[in-house]
Each structure stands twice: as C-alpha cells, then as structure tokens.
C-alpha cells in the first residue's frame, strides 16, 4: 500500500489555520468589525480550500490512512500528534471545512460577531481535529474540546431557553466522556501496544493488540456510552431536541452536520475497529436501539409543534439509520452509513438554515402560526422542498443512496431489524411532508402575507447544499469509491480478529441511481 505523503503538512494545517484564526479574531479590536469578519472568513475559507485540496489529492481506491503525520507530543505518556485521513473520515473533514465559512458568511448572529466568529473557528479546528486524530488521547482531547465553543455558542447566541439547553448539552456529553476517558486510559494501559511493551495511545498500535474477551467488552462499552450520547442513540437522545431548538442557526447547522457525526464516526473507528469481538457481541443491543431511535424519532417528530424541534427529532431518526448500518458489519451497510453521515449533514444543515430564515422573517418557529407561504414565496418553498425531499430519501437525491445502501447491506445480517427500520423511511415522508403541507400550503394568514422571497445572498448560501444533494444523488460513485475501501478494511479487520465472515453483498444490478433512473 502506498499511502501518499506530502511535504506540506496539510492535515496539521487544517487544524492550525482555524485555530490561529480564532486567536487572531480574539486579538483584533472590537472597533474594527469589518477586520474581524475578514480575518474569520479568510481563515475559514483557507481551511475550506485546504480541505478541498485534500479531497482532490486523496488517492481513491486505497484503504489505508493517507497524508499521515506523526510527531511525539507527550512522549512520557506515549501520546503523539498522529493525524491521518482515510475514506471514512475524508468527507467529514471536507464537510467541516466548507460548512464553517458558509455559516460565517451567510448567517448573521445579530450580536457580538467577534466572539461568535472566534468560537466558530475554534469549533472548526476541534471538529476537523477529532476526525483526523489517530491517537486515542488526541481524539479524546478534540472530542471534549469542541464542547466548549459549542456551549458558548448555544448559551450566548441561542433562543429563550438557551442556558438550560447549553447546560444539558455540556453535561450529557461530559457524562459520556467520563466513561470514555477511563476507557481510553485503560485501553492504552492494558494493551501496552507501544514499542517494547510500553504504553501507547496510538490507534494503529492498539488495533493490533488482543484483549481478553471480557476486558474488550468493558472497554468497548466505556467508549460506546460516550458515542451513544453524542449520536444520540435512544434513550440518551433527550439533550438533542433542547440543544438544537435553542442553538442559533449556525450552531444548529454545525451541531447536526458535524458534531453528531463524531458519535457515529467514533462507533465505527473506535468501537467496531478497536473492539471487533465486543462490537459483534453487542450487535443486537445497538441494532435494537438504532431501530427504536428510528421509530421514536419519527413518531416524536410527527407530534412536534415547533418546526425546528421537528427537524431535530428527524435527526434522531436519521442517525438511527447510520448506527444500524454501522452495526450491520457489512461493507455495503458500512459504506452507506458513512455516506449517510454526509447526506444527513448536508440536508439537515440546509433545513436548519431555512428554518432560521423563516424565524428571521416571522420570529416564530411554531408550525401553527405559519401557513400558505408557498403562494407568497414560491422559490423559497421550492428550495425547502428540495432539502426536505433529500432528507426524506427521495430517489435521485443524496438521502436515498445512503439509506438504500444501509437497508440493503444490513438485510443479510440484520434482517428483522431492517424490516422494522424500513417503516421509518415511510414515517419520514409522513412527518416531513405533513410539516411542509402545514407550513407552505393552505390559506395565507395576514402575518405571512409579507413573507419575503428568497434573497440572492440566501440563495447563494443554499446553492452549495443543493449542488451536493443533487450531485451525490445522481452520481454517488466518486464518493463511494473513496469510502468503500476503507470500510472494507474495517470489516476485514473484524473478520481477521473474530473469525467472522461477511456474507456476500446483496447483488445490485448496477449502482443505485441506475436502478430507477
């Protein structure tokens, strides 16, 4: 395997550029708001550019980690600054890279722009860092550090109940992290995977270690609790609706698109990959919780009166699909899950942006107070429809490809769970279409008569989302080519460690888009 290396430390730069940007924005005087804005935009745009460069330079078809860079950090503890990217993390890094400049440029926080931009950049650095880390300690540090900017974004720029929501978010996640920290340390100490039996926190070292069966299970659960809260998996999801609803639009977007994915990404990278035996052993539990989440999220979303809360609950359902795909332990389902990470990020992110626009115009998120917007602002309604259908999983749009792969890939190994989960696909159509009907159709009341049409700036913000949605939906091959080998490698690792044999893929005549195109 020839993992490409570059002299330019692109992965480290992806973390440092936004981090330095955060410091710079903090240092610039409050009286120069235009300079603050310029610096923040520039730094996040450079990061976005780097992430796109990474996407272009990435060697498709290779399973291993690319652009690896490793430097000793705390050598006394066997901790190194070890970064690397593979097909599983690549698209999450790119998404983190491009979302932040979009959010900074397109969404007005309405107050104290300087601190807002600083926290956003710090959040970007933390998110990218956690997807790139190949060291358990480093990963934990980034995983935990993103809580701080997110906490301040919710508490500082959120809506009426923001303090409660921010606290709940911070404490729930930290509760999980408490287990994970002990898990991280215990894993490294027990594995003693470094050279000459020293303690090493390196993911690749530890992946080759063998744990006793019960030890591995305990360690797996220490990690899994943290990730299950982050995802969030039923019944640990209660922080999510509160945080999403109260967060400012920009915060909701990043939270849904990226932060939640740290949980699903962690389950695959640090759960299934590090502890294959435990992951297989606990499969029924996670599959069941995932399916409950799909149904529960859908039913709860149907009942919501608040549009933003509805979208938040739809996240619970969507993330259930991703967990289902992760624990199906087949290449197909795993690839679908990784892909669905991105798809959900894009479509739900766009939905949150549009709900934010509705709030800007009407100062309410209550579905009952909206209605008939379609006749006043047809373009706005049309774009919303596109994002919503992507979320529903309409064939031809990105959501379909991921969901389809998850369901078909899981069918061989988790048949009855898939049967139940498939109901969730229908329910998604129910609650989203019903919501659309109530918000955009029907008679216009007086308050909505002056609802402004989509502005050029808003359209420019939503354009990248729409482009990704349609491109991935019609032509998912470039994405799958990069994701699949890495997922296959994880499954092969599970096979090697546990003697599991992946059932042959369910034969699909051709890539998804042709089966109905």
């Amino acid at each position: 395997m020839h993992a490409p290396t570059m002299n330019f430390p692109i992965l480290s730069m992806l973390i440092f550029v936004p981090f330095v940007g955060a410091i710079l924005t903090a240092l610039i005087s409050k009286r120069r708001p235009e300079l603050v804005r310029l610096t923040a935009l520039l730094c996040s745009a450079i990061t976005a550019g780097l992430s796109i460069w990474l996407l272009v330079a990435f060697h498709k078809g290779e399973a291993g980690f690319q652009f690896e860079s490793q430097h000793m950090w705390i050598k006394q503890w066997g901790i190194s600054w070890h970064l690397g990217v593979d097909g599983i993390s690549l698209f999450m890094v790119v998404l983190s890279g491009i979302l932040t400049p979009l959010v900074l440029a397109g969404i007005d926080p309405h107050k104290d722009n300087k601190a807002y931009a600083g926290w956003m950049l710090l959040l970007q650095a933390g998110c990218i860092g956690s997807f790139l880390s190949l060291d358990l300690f480093l990963f934990f540090a980034f995983f935990e550090i993103v809580l701080v900017p997110m906490y301040f974004l919710i508490a500082g720029w959120g809506y009426e109940n923001r303090i409660y929501a921010a606290m709940k978010f911070f404490l729930f996640t930290m509760f999980g992290s408490a287990f994970m920290l002990v898990g991280v340390i215990a894993t490294a100490v027990i594995a003693k995977a470094g050279p000459n039996g020293t303690v090493s926190f390196d993911l690749l070292d530890i992946a080759n270690a063998n744990f006793a069966v019960s030890t591995g299970r305990w360690l797996f659960f220490a990690f899994a609790i943290a990730f299950a809260i982050k995802v969030p998996l039923f019944p640990l999801h209660t922080w999510l609706p509160a945080a999403h609803t109260q967060a400012p639009t920009g915060g909701s977007v990043i939270l849904a698109a990226i932060l939640l994915k740290m949980g699903t990404y962690g389950l695959l990278r640090f759960g299934v990959f590090l502890f294959p035996e435990a992951a297989r052993w606990s499969r029924p539990l996670f599959l069941t919780l995932a399916v409950i989440g799909i149904l529960w999220g859908a039913i709860a979303a149907t009942m919501q009166k608040d549009l933003k809360r509805l979208v938040a609950y739809s996240s619970v359902a969507h993330l259930g699909f991703i967990v289902l795909g992760t624990f199906a332990i087949t290449t197909q389902a795993g690839s679908g899950a990784v892909m669905q990470n991105i798809n959900h990020g894009v479509s739900t992110g766009a939905l949150f942006i549009m709900v934010g626009m509705i709030y800007e115009r009407r100062h309410t998120r209550q579905i009952a107070e909206l209605g008939g917007i379609q006749s006043v602002a047809p373009i706005f309604a049309g774009v919303f429809m596109l994002m919503m259908l992507s979320s529903v999983g309409l064939p031809g749009l990105n959501g379909f490809v991921g969901e389809y792969l998850v369901l078909i890939g899981s069918f061989g190994t988790a048949r009855w769970w898939v049967v139940v989960a498939a109901v969730g696909v229908i329910l998604a159509a129910v609650y989203l279409l019903w919501a659309y009907q109530r918000v955009f159709q029907g008679p216009v009341n007086d308050d909505n008569r002056s609802f402004a049409e989509l502005k050029f700036k808003e359209a420019a913000l939503l354009l990248p989302f729409a482009a990704i949605i349609i491109f991935t939906g019609v032509y998912p091959k470039p994405m799958l080519e990069r994701i699949e080998p890495s997922v296959r490698a994880v499954i092969a690792h599970v096979e090697e460690k546990t003697g599991y044999v992946e059932p042959g893929p369910v034969v699909v005549v051709a890539p998804a888009e042709e089966s109905h195109g």
Partner: protein, 500 residues
C-alpha cells in the same frame, strides 16, 4: 552538669526553611523598630524571600542527591520534599502579591508585615509536615501551619465573617490536632517509636499475634482523621466552606493550595513511609474517603450561590481526586510501585495550586471593596465589562472542570491513569462522574459572567478595578494553565525525578 550534645544539622538541606524563617523574623522585628517602609516594600521583600527559597530548592533538586534523613533522622530530604517546597513557597509567593493589593484596597496596610510573616511561617509549617520523618516533627509542622492560618483567617479585622471564620477554624482545627496527637500516642504504643523508620522496622520484625496490632490500627485511623481534616476530605470537610468564605479571599486561596498540599504530603508520608504494612487496612478507607469526597464536594458545590463557597466545595471535590491518586499508590504502599500514584497526587497538587490561587485572585478582585460581592450575582456581566479578566477566569474554571489542553486535564489524567494502572476502575469512573457534576458548577459561574443580562442594582455596584500585582498573578496562572496544558511533557519529566 549534663553534657548536652545536639545532633549534627545539615544547614544546606534546610536552607529554604532558614530563608523563610529569617525573612519572617526580620520583617516582624524590622517593622516594629523602623518607620513605615514605602508601599509594596513588605510584599516585594516577602516575594523575594520566597523566590530565594525556591531558587535554593531548585539548586538542591538539580544536584540529584539520594534521599537522606537529616537531623537525627527527624526529617527526610528527598525530591518529594523539594516538590512540596516548590508548591508551598510558590503558593505563598503568589498569594503575597495578591494580598498586597487586597490589603491596600481594604485599608489594612498597617498590618501588612504580620500578614506576610504569617504566610512565611505557615509555609515553614507546611514544609516541615511534608518533610517529617517523625510523628512528633509532623505534629510540630501541623501546629506551625495551623496556628499561622488561624491568625491569617482573622486578618481582615473589621470584617465580622473573618473573625468568625478564624474562630471556627481554630476550634475545629484544635479538635483535629488533638485527634492526630492521640493517634500518635497509639502508634507509639503499638510500635515503640514515633520515628517512621523505626516504626516500619518494628512491624517488620514483629509477627502480630492475637490481634495485637489493634492499637496501631486505631492509631492509624486517628491520624487519618487528623489529616483528612487538614485536606478537607469528606466527611471532615465541614469547616472548609465557612472558613474559605469568611477568610480574606487571598488567604482562602493560600489555604486551598499550600495547606492542602501539606496535608496530602503528610498523609502520604505517614501511610507510605511509616505504616505501609497496613496498606490492606487503610486502602479501603481511602477508597471510601475518595468517593465521599468527590461526590459531596461536587454536589454541594452546585447548590451554592456564593462563589467563594463554590470554590471551597470544588476544592473538596479536588481533594477527592487527589485521594484517587493516593488510593492508587496505596495498592503498592511501601514498594517502589507506589511511585506512580504518589507522583500523580503530587502533580495534581502543583497544578491545582496554581489554578485555585488564580481563581481566588479573580474572586478577590471581583469581591470589590469590603470583600462582600462574592455572590454569583457579583460576576454578572463581567464578560462585557472586563473581558480579559472574565477570559482568564474562564480558562481557570474550564481547567478545573478538566477540559483537555489545560493543566486541569493533565492533573486528572495523571490520577486516573494511576488508578487504572492499579486496577481501581470503579474508583476512576466514579471520580470522573463526579467531575461531570462539578462541571455544572463551573458552567454556572461562566454563564453568570458571559450570558446573564444585567439586572436592576448592578449599576449601583462599585466598578471593578484590577490592580497591577493581582493582574500579573491572574495572567500568570491563566498562562501557566494553557502552556502546561498544551505541553505538559517538561512537567511530567520533572515530576519523574521525584522517585528517580
């Protein structure tokens, strides 16, 4: 005539103590005999003496000498002792700088020399406690430290709460001292000596029959009660919130750092150097103390409304974390394998001392004239009016919550690794869960600073003024927190030399 011959004294080894003592006496006598010196002179003189003591310690440290017993085997000079000296004297130095501005604001400068002399004297007591190789010497150190602290707690003479705090501390502290002394007596009865080395040997050569170690066990229990009181471990923590709240704020910071460090050093000296053979008996006790302390500290901290009380309970919870390290060491008490746990506890003490002194320095500033505005409301809107101060406090609080890339995390990581290494998984998880509860407390303070809207009456409060020296201390502690949080390697290397 009796021919008295004292033991040989290694003057160099105790030079930090001599410097501190000399400076304290010189200041007390000098202040009485000479007219008033210019402002800041006493504080800077004290700081210089402390700095000199630290320099001597660092020189001694770099000589890499084997541990040795000095002055008729009554004191043990090893890197453990030197590490403690750096914590305690460093705490005294930083607290002195904060205290100078505090006394100026509260118009107490007339008493400045006494206060600084008491800082130096209590530091001596703290060091003697940690360096003791004899229960009697340990008791002397305990009393030197405690009596100086009783007076320091009362040093805001016009403030009712300050006097009340001192009286409470004095009465409860005396009971604890008495308990400790009784423990010393019982150990003496059980082993025939008060010297650690002789106590260890006596148990090595003695095969206990018919439960004859009962007296020793009772003695150990009483000693642990006395120490637990000093470090504010639950259920012996009840004095801490009242005293921390009433005492002048910089003094509270000094108590939470130096006195706690001394208490833990003494606890570890007694348990691991005098009675390590009883590790299976005292380890479960430490386990229970640790669990009770992290939980009671965290839970009680959350329901407080006064920031000084919050920090007091949070300091109780931190004591619980340090006990986790002690428990890890107790698994292997008496053998070289205890080093990991002891190191993690000592490291925690150093890092926490910096955090807590910085935090109390911020509270001292926000307390405004009269030192009364330390309730949570006093911090409302600090983020708007004093962003730099609020940012520094945020860094200190986030670190105390144990967020990565700060020293607070490095400290927690150390004790948790030690616990995991010693297979105390349950304790590690319990402690981390308690840390989540405690995080709520730090968030409450941050919310008050950054996210609370101003309320009626806020405008009537006096403006906050950050004096120079206090500002320097706060900036230093915040920077220390970040720098050693990002790159703890140097510090870890240094601490490894404690047990070469």
């Amino acid at each position: 005539m009796i021919d008295l011959q004292g033991p040989p004294i290694e003057w160099m080894a105790i030079s930090p103590l001599l410097i501190l003592l000399g400076a304290a006496l010189a200041m007390l006598v000098g202040a009485v005999l000479t007219p008033a010196w210019p402002r800041r002179f006493y504080a800077l003189f004290t700081a210089a003496a402390a700095a000199a003591a630290i320099v001597m310690t660092v020189i001694e440290w770099h000589r890499h000498r084997a541990p040795r017993l000095i002055i008729a085997q009554s004191m043990r000079i090893d890197n453990f002792t030197l590490w403690l000296v750096i914590i305690v004297v460093g705490a005294a130095l930083l607290s002195t700088l904060v205290t100078d501005d505090y006394l100026e604001r509260e118009q107490l400068t007339a008493h400045a020399p006494e206060v600084y002399a008491l800082y130096l004297l209590s530091s001596i007591g703290a060091i003697v406690m940690g360096a003791a190789n004899d229960l009697i010497v340990l008791f002397l150190g305990l009393e030197i430290l405690s009596i100086a602290l009783y007076v320091l707690a009362a040093s805001h003479r016009r403030r009712q709460q300050s006097r009340e705090a001192a009286l409470k501390y004095f009465i409860l502290g005396s009971v604890a001292s008495a308990t400790f002394l009784y423990g010393v007596a019982l150990i003496y009865g059980g082993s025939g000596s008060t010297n650690f080395s002789e106590i260890v040997t006596s148990f090595n050569s003695l095969i206990p029959v018919d439960r004859s170690e009962a007296m020793t066990l009772a003695g150990i229990a009483l000693l642990m009660v006395g120490m637990s009181f000093k470090v504010a471990a639950a259920p012996f923590h009840f004095w801490a919130p009242d005293v921390y709240e009433g005492a002048p704020t910089p003094v509270s910071g000094f108590m939470a750092s130096a006195a706690k460090a001394a208490g833990f050093a003494a606890l570890m000296r007694v348990l691991f150097y005098a009675v390590p053979q009883f590790r299976d008996d005292f380890r479960p006790v430490i386990w229970v103390l640790a669990v009770a302390t992290v939980f009671i500290g965290s839970v009680m901290a959350v329901v407080q409304t006064n920031v000084k009380r919050m920090l007091a309970f949070s300091s109780v919870s931190h004591a619980g974390f340090i006990l986790v390290g002690v428990e890890a060491a107790a698994h292997a008490a008496g053998s070289p394998a205890q080093a990991d746990g002891v190191l993690s506890a000592l490291n925690y003490l150093l890092l926490y001392s910096v955090l807590v002194i910085g935090s109390f320095a911020v509270v001292a500033v926000v307390g405004r004239k009269g030192d009364d505005a330390t309730d949570l409301n006093g911090f409302r809107g600090l983020g708007r009016s004093h962003p730099a101060l609020a940012l520094a406090f945020t860094v200190l609080l986030i670190a105390q919550a144990g967020v990565p890339l700060t020293t607070g995390f490095v400290a927690k990581f150390g004790v948790i690794s030690a616990a995991v290494d010693a297979h105390s998984y349950a304790l590690a998880i319990i402690a981390m869960l308690a840390a989540v509860i405690a995080a709520f407390l730090y968030l409450r303070i941050m919310v008050s600073m950054w996210a609370s809207e101003p309320e009626a009456g806020d405008d009537d409060r006096q403006p906050i003024h950050v004096p120079l020296l206090t500002g320097i201390v706060i900036a230093f502690t915040a920077l220390f927190t970040i720098v050693f949080g990002l790159a703890p390697g140097w510090l870890i290397d240094a601490s490894k030399h404690i047990f070469p």
